[in-house]
Amino acid sequence: MTDILVMMIFGFPAVFLSLLVSVIGVLKQKFWMVIIGAILFAPFSYYLSGSPGLAGLPILLPGFQVGAAVAVREKNKLWAWLLLLPAFLVSLYIVAIALYFQF
């Protein structure tokens, strides 16, 4: 059960939920939703920052989401979407790698 809990918080369930909440936050212009998204994304980025070759850089990913939240608060939608992109791209990259090695 603990394994599943860890998998849920550090794995893709939290990531998908984080991205979904962030997108809804930007669409509804609610900055706190993007902050919740960043909090949900933090364990995954912490986990990812431990992988070799990435030099611990993924730990900065929730920072982009916090930046997106600030942009939403400042009513700057373009910057909000742009700052959400890194989290999206990294998630897609990890999904692609996982699928590539599975099939």
Partner: protein, 135 residues
């Protein structure tokens, strides 16, 4: 005379057999109906409907939809917590949605969203636990 007696006994036995067969068929039908209702209320259809209702309720700031989702979540969470005896805290899952509906009703949108997200995480956890075969 004897032949007529045997014939009437045979007819009586046939009737009993037919009645028993009908009763069995009726029992099977009612059991199938109950199984169908159980799978509808305690299975994946209820879970998916609950999640969709909860998402729409949260996005549209509608506490009634969240309340509907919470009511719909009661049977499957009770079933998953070990129907009829409660063996796990999973049966408290609808409380999250009830609280979310309450928060939405009184204008506390952030609290409603946090409770809703917790509910979604619990549902994902349940999905993972069920697919992993953990009871």
């Amino acid at each position: 005379m004897r032949q007529r007696g045997e014939q009437s006994q045979l007819t009586y036995q046939d009737e009993i057999a037919t009645l028993a067969k009908e009763q069995l068929t009726r029992n099977d039908e009612s059991r199938t109906m109950l199984d169908f209702l159980l799978s509808l209320l305690a299975g994946w259809p209820a879970i998916v409907t609950t999640v969709i209702l909860a998402i729409i309720g949260l996005v549209r700031n509608n506490h009634r939809l969240l309340l509907g989702a919470a009511i719909l979540a009661v049977p499957f969470s009770w079933y998953l917590s070990g129907f009829p005896v409660i063996r796990s805290p999973v049966f408290l899952t609808p409380v999250l949605l009830f609280c979310s509906a309450w928060a939405m009703r009184y204008g506390r949108e952030m609290l409603a969203w946090i409770l809703g997200i917790t509910f979604f995480l619990v549902v994902i956890l349940l999905f993972l636990a069920l697919s992993a075969g953990v009871s």
